[in-house]
């Protein structure tokens, strides 16, 4: 039963989105000291899974309730406008990042920087690159999650409709597409480089749909299955993943002729070990009293602000990560520099979250649970 009332804002959703954004930022400055302590070093999944799953949860809060008969066209338009704002943000981020990389390359006389960040095609083939930029096929290094999100939002009306009607059918359809993608190597082509999208939307839509379904369960206040056996299984799986990743066993085993997506680690197509790792982690986290723990805990508010304004914060984070990468090329990398860069970048993102929260709700209300129904798919 889909409730008529808006879903009260779940602060922990904002909090975990904030954690995911902070992690993505840290991971986007490769090999910096703190990047060795992020989620991906302790298991198969990383912050991208959290980001996409919570995008599904947030999209559910924002749109599912309104998706009844007579409202679908309006809601589809709302989602379309949201997708367009993501598209515009992607363009702005692309321009800023391109400028930073171009400046780094020019000032050091090192064109290898352009090449590695995949901006060299823009220099060599500006016309086809422009086509690639407009059609989202041009995805330089680190600039590939927003295109995924745009496609997921474009698919959202269909997915939301399916989840609203019957979650099992929705999961079946979405899972079927996931399976077909893995078995028949379906995907979207990049352009002008004849490659595939780094995040294959046809695979990642399954995680987004899982997020939509969980969002609906939360909105309806229906608990997830409670089972001690499931808790133990999730815990054991996380330990196994930890051993494989930390022990350097990735790639050391081959379970062919089983299809590769069942056993290998593949981020592009969200292979099953990654998906299960995230699901196990998320299930165990839901067993923790995070919502109660966060209530009134002022120290967590910066992360909540970040999560609540995820699009602008993410965009700023991507640009700052480029600044971080360029700085680590020009100045000798050291633990001190790494900590300074990450602290500075996270501080700016938190400050942006605070400013946007202040602008929206007023200074004193920042971080406190907002008005019901304020959740957005941002």
């Amino acid at each position: 039963m889909i409730p008529d009332r808006p879903t009260p804002r779940i602060v922990s959703v904002d909090f975990w989105r904030g954690i995911a954004l902070a992690t993505i930022f840290i991971d986007h400055v490769p090999e910096n000291l703190l990047a060795h302590f992020t989620q991906r070093h302790f298991g198969f999944s990383d912050a991208a899974e959290t980001f996409v799953f919570l995008a599904g949860v947030a999209a559910c809060f924002a749109y599912l309730r309104h998706f009844g008969r007579g409202e679908r066209a309006h809601q589809t338009l709302r989602i379309g406008l949201r997708a367009f704002s993501l598209y515009a943000a992607n363009m702005v981020v692309l321009v800023f990042c391109g400028a930073i990389i171009a400046y780094a390359s020019l000032s050091t006389q090192d064109p290898r920087i352009l090449e590695i960040m995949q901006f060299d095609q823009l220099v060599k083939e500006p016309l086809s690159s422009l086509v690639g930029i407009a059609t989202l096929g041009f995805q330089p290094s680190g600039l590939n999650i927003l295109p995924l999100y745009i496609v997921l939002l474009a698919l959202a009306p269909l997915l939301i409709l399916a989840v609203r009607r019957n979650m099992r059918v929705a999961l079946g359809l979405s899972g079927g597409l996931y399976l077909a993608t893995q078995l028949f190597s379906l995907g979207l082509p990049s352009y002008p480089v004849p490659d595939a999208w780094f995040f294959n939307p046809l695979a990642w839509q399954f995680l987004f749909t899982l997020g939509l379904c969980c969002g609906r369960l939360i909105a309806e206040r229906r608990p997830l299955p409670q089972s001690r056996a499931l808790v133990v299984a999730c815990g054991l799986y996380l330990v196994l993943a930890l051993v494989i990743v930390r022990g350097g066993f990735i790639g050391a085993y081959d379970l062919s002729p089983l299809p590769r997506f069942l056993w290998d680690e593949d981020k592009t197509n969200l292979s099953l070990p990654r998906l299960l790792h995230f699901a196990a982690l998320a299930y165990l986290v839901t067993r923790l009293p995070v919502e109660a723990w966060l209530a009134g805990r002022a120290s967590c508010r910066p992360l909540i602000w970040m999560g609540r304004h995820s699009l602008p914060v993410f965009s700023l984070g991507v640009v700052l990560s480029m600044v971080g990468q360029a700085t680590r090329i020009v100045y000798p990398a050291s633990p001190g520099l790494d900590i300074l860069l990450v602290s500075f970048g996270l501080g700016l993102q938190m400050a942006l979250g605070w400013v946007l929260e202040w602008q929206k709700t007023g200074l004193t209300a920042a971080g406190a649970p907002a008005e019901p129904g304020a959740a957005r798919a941002s």
Partner: protein
């Protein structure tokens, strides 16, 4: 050292050791004997540096075909390869499962140099990747980063070049020493003129052909 004379454009000639692969490319040789095409996966950007898509690996293909006219080479368009080696290795496994190459040419080291990766950890990944390819009976060649003069942060590349050399020795796989070859040509500029812009494809093809025909 005396520059190699046979088969290489004058402006591209480098000493023989730069063109020597210590281990055989067994699978490639076998396929040549069987007169079957050789599928080569190039992981990384154009060997020469930025290049339009259509021509990305065409010079390498032309140089191989020119040297071994009867042999069918198929150059598979690998991905650009812009991540640090650890992440590229993950992608490499996907690509190999998809493309089923006979020979992998992996341009490696530039992203790790620019990210100031730990050379030891970087080398460990390369050894794992090389052993992984060998266990699948796939021929494997590392290509180290390109060299450029007058770049203030050039020492970052030097560390990775050493790590790649050590890893290739440890894993007993071949290494195309692009960095050293470009450095040599740069030093020789006064004597032989500016290096030809397409030397690296030519030298790589020469090294591969020498290895499979010795």
């Amino acid at each position: 050292m005396t520059p190699a004379t046979a088969g290489v454009t004058v402006a591209c000639r480098v000493p023989d050791p730069y063109l020597h692969f210590p281990t055989d490319l067994k699978r490639t040789e076998r396929l040549m004997d069987l007169k079957r095409p050789i599928r080569i996966l190039v992981v990384g950007p154009a060997i020469e540096g930025p290049e339009v898509i259509e021509k990305r690996h065409s010079r390498l293909l032309a140089a191989l075909q020119q040297r071994l006219p009867g042999v069918g080479f198929e150059l598979l368009d690998g991905w650009h390869g812009w991540r640090v080696a650890e992440e590229d290795f993950d992608r490499l496994r996907s690509e190999v499962a998809e493309a089923k190459p006979d020979l992998i040419l992996w341009e490696v080291g530039t992203p790790d140099a620019l990210a100031s990766s730990d050379p030891g950890e970087f080398g460990d990944v390369l050894v794992r990747a090389a052993n992984w390819a060998k266990s699948r009976d796939i021929d494997f060649v590392f290509i180290d980063p390109p060299f450029l003069p007058h770049v203030p942060h050039e020492p970052l590349y030097g560390k990775m070049v050493l790590a790649i050399s050590a890893a290739s020795s440890q894993a007993r796989v071949n290494l195309f020493r692009r960095y050293a070859a470009m450095q040599y040509l740069e030093r020789m500029q006064g004597k032989i003129g500016a290096p030809h812009p397409h030397c690296m494809s030519e030298l790589l093809a020469e090294a591969i052909v020498r290895s499979v025909t010795r």
